[in-house]
């Protein structure tokens, strides 16, 4: 039987650790992806992801269900990412090394993906990460939450603590910067 997030949360609050593990299994990938796209470093993303669930586990007794469990998790993860960026005092998105080992990439490719496809995908990743690094934090967060996590504008506004129209404007402006940066990289 598949439990909803809310049911698993209730059971977790009741002391059922297995229910919390189910929540972790369900949400670890999205939280990891969010942290990776925000921070750009795999190890840091993994650490933030783990810390997110640890904090959630400690605080789940105080979760009253005013927001969705996923929104609550996203808030914890985003706060951790923000703290991490401030603590590290460095650009949040990683720059991939210039000298890419084609053979190494070939080992990563899927069964139907050619080496050329893998190289192209890697180039695109580098271009996108560079472009995302140009964005102010609030624009980047808005784009990540909307584009990759499918949150509604209202949910993003609740997470960011700002009006709905501000979120839409941030997203539009962020996309406009990305359009410009991506156009530059094509030249």
């Amino acid at each position: 039987m598949t439990w909803s997030d809310e049911e698993l949360v209730t059971r977790s609050i009741g002391g059922d650790a297995e229910s919390f593990n189910q929540l972790v299994l369900r949400w670890e990938r999205p939280i990891y992806a969010l942290a990776y796209r925000t921070l750009g470093r795999e190890e840091d993303a993994r650490d933030v992801c783990q810390e997110t669930f640890l904090r959630a586990f400690r605080a789940i007794g105080g979760f009253r269900g005013q927001a969705k469990f996923s929104s609550w998790l996203y808030r914890i993860a985003l706060n951790l990412c923000r703290d991490w960026v401030r603590r590290q005092r460095r650009t949040p998105v990683v720059q991939l090394p210039e000298d890419v080992d084609v053979m190494e990439l070939a080992a990563e490719r899927g069964p139907t993906e050619s080496i050329e496809d893998v190289v192209a995908r890697n180039d695109l990743t580098r271009v996108v990460e560079r472009a995302m690094a140009k964005l102010p934090e609030e624009q980047r967060t808005a784009i990540i939450l909307k584009e990759y996590h499918g949150l509604t504008f209202q949910e993003i506004a609740d997470l960011a603590g700002c009006p709905l129209s501000t979120v839409k404007t941030r997203l539009y402006q962020g996309l406009a910067v990305l359009r410009r940066e991506l156009a530059k990289s094509e030249k």
Partner: protein, 262 residues
């Protein structure tokens, strides 16, 4: 890039909502109509959709390690100090304690063709006296016996000491008193027999306890060895998984280069 000349109200926010299909119905219908007639908005929408397509190809890498999260339902038990000592040091310390204990108890542990033989100080044979020649005269024998034997006074002293020790051990005394009627005096022979019986019993218990401890020690040691072996195998598997693909790549490169060099 599109030059924006459109003055649609709250254009940026509406455009973003339209792009992600996150507008109220009325708002969307109105903007639909506007886009049909507004070239800048139509162009910009197309460009932003292209940006979204590019963004959609940006996938985070698979984490190289599985996320490990095991919530603790309760506080872990406080670890005693010896849990921080390496296993090998714990084993060494255990062996040292065992050795010291054996020395104190004057133990003699031998493993020979007759198997494991454990002898405590109590059962150690007395120093070997030179074998008497059958030609030795009876008078000489008597003299030797007289020299080796303890005096009556020493014997009485030893008996008193042993009796006091026996009294201290209530259980032993109770056992003895159950056999000997109260007020009855014990003969020297009877007393010696009882002492020997007690000593034999004590020795048996010590042997049994030591054997149990030795077997336990051996089991613990085997378990440790098995555990270490398991960890080593796991490490080897991890290394193989980590570097296997790299080795394969190198092999591919070598295979690729070899024909060219020939």
């Amino acid at each position: 890039m599109t030059d924006i000349t459109c003055i649609y109200p709250d254009r940026e926010a509406v455009l973003a909502g339209y792009l992600y299909d996150d507008l109220e119905t009325a708002e969307r219908v109105a903007f639909d109509s506007h886009v049909m007639t507004c070239l800048p908005c139509r162009s910009e929408l197309a460009e932003l959709r292209q940006v979204r397509t590019t963004l959609g190809k940006w996938a985070p890498p698979e984490p190289t390690r599985v996320l490990a999260f095991e919530p603790r339902t309760s506080n872990p038990e406080p670890r005693t100090w010896w849990h921080h000592v390496p296993v090998w040091a714990q084993v060494a310390a255990a062996m040292l304690v065992l050795g010291v204990s054996a020395s104190i108890a004057n133990l003699d542990i031998r493993y020979d063709s007759r198997g494991l033989n454990v002898t405590t100080g109590w059962s150690k044979p007395a120093p070997v006296t030179p074998a008497m020649s059958p030609t030795v005269a009876p008078a000489a024998v008597a003299e030797t016996v007289s020299n080796d034997s303890v005096s009556r006074e020493e014997f009485n002293q030893l008996r008193a000491q042993l009796q006091s020790e026996l009294r201290a051990r209530a259980s032993v005394v109770r056992a003895a008193s159950a056999v000997v009627p109260a007020g009855a005096t014990m003969s020297d022979g009877e007393f010696e027999r009882r002492v020997r019986a007690l000593l034999d019993e004590s020795e048996k218990n010590q042997k049994k306890e030591l054997a149990v401890r030795l077997v336990q020690l051996q089991r613990d040691f085997n378990a440790l060895l098995q555990n270490e072996r398991g960890q080593t195998n796991q490490l080897f598997r991890d290394v193989t998984n980590t570097y296997g693909p790299q080795l394969q790549n190198q092999q591919k490169q070598i295979n690729y280069l070899l024909p060219a060099g020939r």
